[in-house]
Structure formats: structure tokens, C-alpha cells
Amino acid sequence: MISNQAKKEIDIWVAKYPEGRQSSAVMQALTIVQKENGGSLNNELKQDVADYLEMPTISVQEVATFYENYNNKPVGKNVIRFCHNISCMLNGSDELISYLEEKLDVKTGEISKDGLVSVKKVECLCACVGGPMCQIGDQYYENLTKKRIDEILDGLK
């Protein structure tokens, strides 16, 4: 079920596009319902989005599986998206990702035992002058060090 609050948010996006082009809002609709659902999508939600935007279910499914930012499987409460592309790599991202995995006792792609965190290696997030960097929620964390990672992890709830 899409909540009324989510419908309100989706409607703001629908209004940006010409009449009859509400499917342009599908990406944001999926982002909104994913957030409300604890960070991931399921088939029921995708069907709801398809119904709400009057789109074929398969079109929603295609979008949900094409773009990196949709999680079609459950994730941790906080998803740490760590860049491992070249500029970050040249500044030590590999070592920091290993540190993170060890500290949390998770491999990239997995959820921590307490369900609080999952770690994902991602491609360039375009904050290369601040590499190594990662993203948690809406926020970028740049110029990371082991100490900074400790601080960030301590702050996660």
C-alpha cells in the first residue's frame, strides 16, 4: 500500500510533467515508496506504483531493476555506499572498505547481524576531490579515514 503521505509526494512530481505523462514520475515514486518501506522494494509496492501511475507493471519492474539506487532485496537500516572507483582507489578506498567490512563483520552486499548497516561498493559518486568517500542516506561523507569511519559508525542509529 502506498501511504497517503507518499501519494502526496508523488503527486508533486507528477505535476511537473505534461498531462498524461505521469509515468515520468515513476523513478521518484519508487524512490519515495522505497524510503518508506525501510530502504527496499517488493513486488507489491511496484504493483502499487504501477497502478497509481497507470503504467504496465513490467515497465515499473524494468525501471526498478535497471537503476542502481533501487534495492529489490531488503537492506540494513543504513546503507553505506562506498565508492571504489579510480580517484577514490588512488587515495586508499580499498583499505577503508576492508576496514569497514572487518569492523562491522559484514562483506559488501551483506547486512550486519543487528540489521543496522549494509555495505555496498558503488561506482563513482562524483565527489572525487573528496575521495575516499561514501554516501549514507542523502549525505556524502568525504576525505574518509579510519578514524572518521569510526565516528560515522558510532553516530548511526
Binding site: 509515468s23 523513478m27 503504467m55 515497465s59 579510480i86 563513482c124 562524483c126 572525487c128
Partner: protein, 424 residues
């Protein structure tokens, strides 16, 4: 330095309308609204300025705008490509965060020139801070009556909206971006027809990069010749460069075209103590690598970088010192293209995965003596054989890394480890 797109970066409240106006912002837009600047005059100034598309392809902006059938009836669109994604690039992010009104004004001017009354700024989905800053700026511009219908009684109309992506590098390709904006998978379209004829929702559309739009108000305010004179022949004006990798102070620098690479390296603090330059990727990961000696002789403009064997691209300068293992660096890039290929064209879908797996095999100590020839053969068959340029961007680094650092690859295959100290 930092005189056009990044000129508000050191100011208080850099992204606000008030700051933008104190720097002369919306002066050109007001002139247009007062009927003092014709579309023809704007195109003429842009032509003189030599502004070329800053997203990577370097196509002359004035020419692109002139392709739009401005007198054709029906809806037309202006789209800004803020789907910054090229590894090593992060200057559009700073333009959106610190100077969003320049993008708004640039897009509004474009809309006026091309008779397009609706614009969308497609911002990559991860750029939430830039998105919020842009949204705030957009609200300020609407509240000040600078956007909308019959703006300040001028009959000029321009409605502008932001749009968010969801993590797909390919959406930086303009027709993939349009597909995405229509709510579909971001798979590039066949061209022709070009977007200027059949674009968003099938209507005439022009797509420019964030930095291109952000440059337009200043060019028209100070004159095309002023801008052209900042740069060199064939590369007018200034350009934002992101300098990253093995430098002391990675940062964005907006500098005149034609600046020597060695000066840009100094601006970024130079290399770390005791290190020597090994290679430079000058225009983002899709452009060929240039070895140190050649890089130190090049200047930062379209022609000089091309002469050095690469491309200016998006102005993403990735600096590698002598601790860099080129096999590892290339493997990482190959993984990126494998991950980001949209899967539409077979040479790209299969080729990017094939190249990554061969490189991974070398890194795992399982490399075979024929692997380098195999890599070169695969990249050769990808070049020019796909709908968009992603495959070319994946192929070109392969060829250049192997050509310039072949012995490193051969060593890795033979010994199962890197020949670079500190690595492997």
C-alpha cells in the same frame, strides 16, 4: 581562477539569489525581458565565444541551439544534463551547490532563444545536496517573478523543473537521459532523428551540460569576444577541471583553456613528496591515458590534449604517480564499464564483461600470454559498433593503458603479481 561558473564559491551564501545578483546575475535575463536582446544576437555572441559543450563531446553550443526549429509550432524543451557521472568529475556538483542561479539563467536564456517554454534539470539521484540547493534557488527565482508565464509582462514564458535520476551512468548520454526523463530504462536512442527534431515526448529538445548553461549568462553579459580571448584558438574561454588522484590538494579549478598541465598540477599542490608522475587521464575515465612525459608538455585545451593522444572530455584530470599499478587501475575502470553498460548493444554488453573478466583473471594470477592480444581484439571490435559512446569510452582506456605500460601487464601475467612496489 574561478571567474565564471565557480565565481561564487568563496562568497557567503554562495547559492542565494542575492549573492548571484550582486555578481551581476540575471542582468542578461532582464535585458531579454525588456526586449533588448534578440535570439539572433545571442546566437551570434555564443558563436564568437567559442563555447563548446562542456559535458565531454565539445560540440559548439551555438550550433546546437541553432538546430532547433524555433518557429515550428508546438511544445519544445530545454534539458540540462546534471547527471554527472564520469569517474574523476565533480565540478557540476559544485556549480549546482554554489552557483545554481547561473544554471537557471542559462537555461532560461536557452529557452528564449529556442522558443522552448519548459525546461528540466536532470540531476543525478545521489546528488541530494545539490538537488536541494537547486530547488531552493528555483523557488527564489519563481518567487522573484523570474520564471513562469508572461514573465514580468514580457510575453516570455519559461517554466523550469528539476528531475532526479536513480543511479545509472548511461543517463549522462543525452538520449538515454530523455528516456529516463520519460520514466523508462535509460537506454540510448538511435540517431537520427536527433533530439532537436524528436526529443522529449517526441518534441524538439536541446540538451546541454550544467557547465555549458552556467557559462552562458556571463558570456552574454561580458561579450563573446571577452570569453573567447580568455582561452586559445578553437578552445574559447575557461573550463572547470577536477584534479583528483595522487595530488596533494585535489580540487576543482576553473582556469583558462590552454593553461599548461604542469601549472594545473601545481595548483593542485603537485605530487606527494618523493613521488614521480606516471600517467594522467585528462578528461575522465573514458578518455585515453597519457604517459607522464607527454602530459607535462600538453596544455589544457581540446587541440593540445588531442595531439597528446587523448581528449579533454569532461575536464576530469586523474593523476597517477609511480605507486600506481596500471593493471589494477585498468581493472577498476573495466569493472565500471561492465557495471554501467546498459545492455542494449551486444558488443558493449558482452565486450565490457569480457574485458573485465580477462583483467580480473590477470589480477588473480591466472593470466595467459595471449590475454593482451585478446583484450586489444575485444576493444577494437567494440569501437564504433554501438549506438552510443559508452563502448568507445570502455575500449579506449584499454588500448592506451596496454600501449603505454605493456611491460607492466606482461609482468603481471608472467609472475602473477604487480611489478609496482607497494602493490599486489
Amino acid at each position: 581562477m574561478n571567474n565564471i561558473c565557480l565565481k561564487s564559491i568563496d562568497k557567503d551564501n554562495p547559492s542565494s539569489l542575492a549573492t548571484y545578483e550582486t555578481m551581476g546575475g540575471y542582468k542578461v535575463w532582464h535585458k531579454i525581458l525588456h526586449g533588448e536582446l534578440s535570439p539572433e544576437k545571442i546566437l551570434e555572441e555564443l558563436k564568437i565565444s567559442g563555447l563548446r559543450g562542456r559535458g565531454g563531446a565539445g560540440f559548439p553550443t551555438s550550433l546546437k541551439w541553432s538546430f532547433m526549429p524555433r518557429n515550428q509550432e508546438g511544445q519544445k524543451y530545454v534539458v540540462c544534463n546534471s547527471d554527472e557521472g564520469e569517474p574523476g568529475t565533480c565540478h557540476d556538483r559544485d556549480i549546482l551547490r554554489f552557483n545554481p542561479h547561473s544554471v537557471i539563467e542559462g537555461m532560461a536564456i536557452a529557452g528564449y532563444v529556442m522558443n522552448a517554454t519548459v525546461g528540466y534539470n536532470y540531476i543525478r539521484g545521489e546528488f541530494m545536496e545539490p538537488y536541494y540547493r537547486f530547488e531552493e534557488a528555483l523557488k527564489e527565482a519563481y518567487d522573484a517573478g523570474l520564471l513562469g508565464t508572461n514573465i514580468k509582462g514580457s510575453q516570455v514564458c519559461f517554466a523550469l523543473y528539476s528531475n532526479l535520476g536513480a543511479g545509472a551512468y548511461i543517463c549522462g548520454e543525452e538520449t538515454a537521459l530523455l528516456e529516463s526523463l520519460e520514466g523508462k530504462k535509460g537506454q540510448p536512442r538511435f540517431k537520427p532523428p536527433f533530439p532537436a527534431n524528436v526529443g522529449l515526448y517526441g518534441k524538439p529538445t536541446t540538451i546541454n551540460n550544467t557547465e555549458s548553461f552556467a557559462s552562458v549568462p556571463e558570456i552574454l553579459s561580458r561579450g563573446g569576444q571577452w570569453f573567447a580571448d580568455l582561452g586559445v584558438v578553437n578552445s574559447g574561454g575557461t573550463k572547470c577541471f577536477s584534479v583528483t588522484g595522487n595530488v596533494k590538494n585535489p580540487a576543482n579549478f576553473e582556469i583558462p583553456m590552454g593553461t599548461p598541465f604542469s601549472d594545473l598540477l601545481k595548483l593542485a599542490g603537485g605530487l606527494r613528496k618523493g613521488r614521480a608522475l606516471k600517467g594522467v587521464i585528462p578528461g575522465g575515465s573514458s578518455t585515453p591515458l597519457i604517459p607522464a612525459a607527454k602530459a607535462m608538455k600538453m596544455t589544457m585545451d581540446y587541440d593540445s590534449i588531442e595531439k597528446a593522444g587523448s581528449m579533454l572530455g569532461a575536464g576530469s584530470v586523474i593523476v597517477m604517480d609511480d605507486t600506481t599499478c596500471m593493471v589494477k587501475a585498468l581493472t577498476r575502470l573495466a569493472h565500471f564499464y561492465y557495471d554501467e553498460s546498459c545492455g542494449q548493444c551486444t558488443p558493449c554488453r558482452e565486450g565490457t564483461g569480457w574485458m573485465y573478466r580477462v583483467l580480473k583473471r590477470i589480477m588473480d594470477g591466472q593470466g595467459k600470454s595471449e590475454d593482451l592480444e585478446l583484450l586489444l581484439s575485444v576493444q577494437d571490435k567494440m569501437l564504433g559498433n554501438t549506438i552510443c559512446a559508452l563502448a568507445d569510452g570502455a575500449a579506449m582506456p584499454i588500448e592506451s593503458f596496454i600501449r603505454h605500460f605493456r611491460e607492466e601487464f606482461e609482468y603481471y601475467i608472467k609472475h602473477g603479481k604487480s611489478m609496482v612496489e607497494n602493490d599486489g
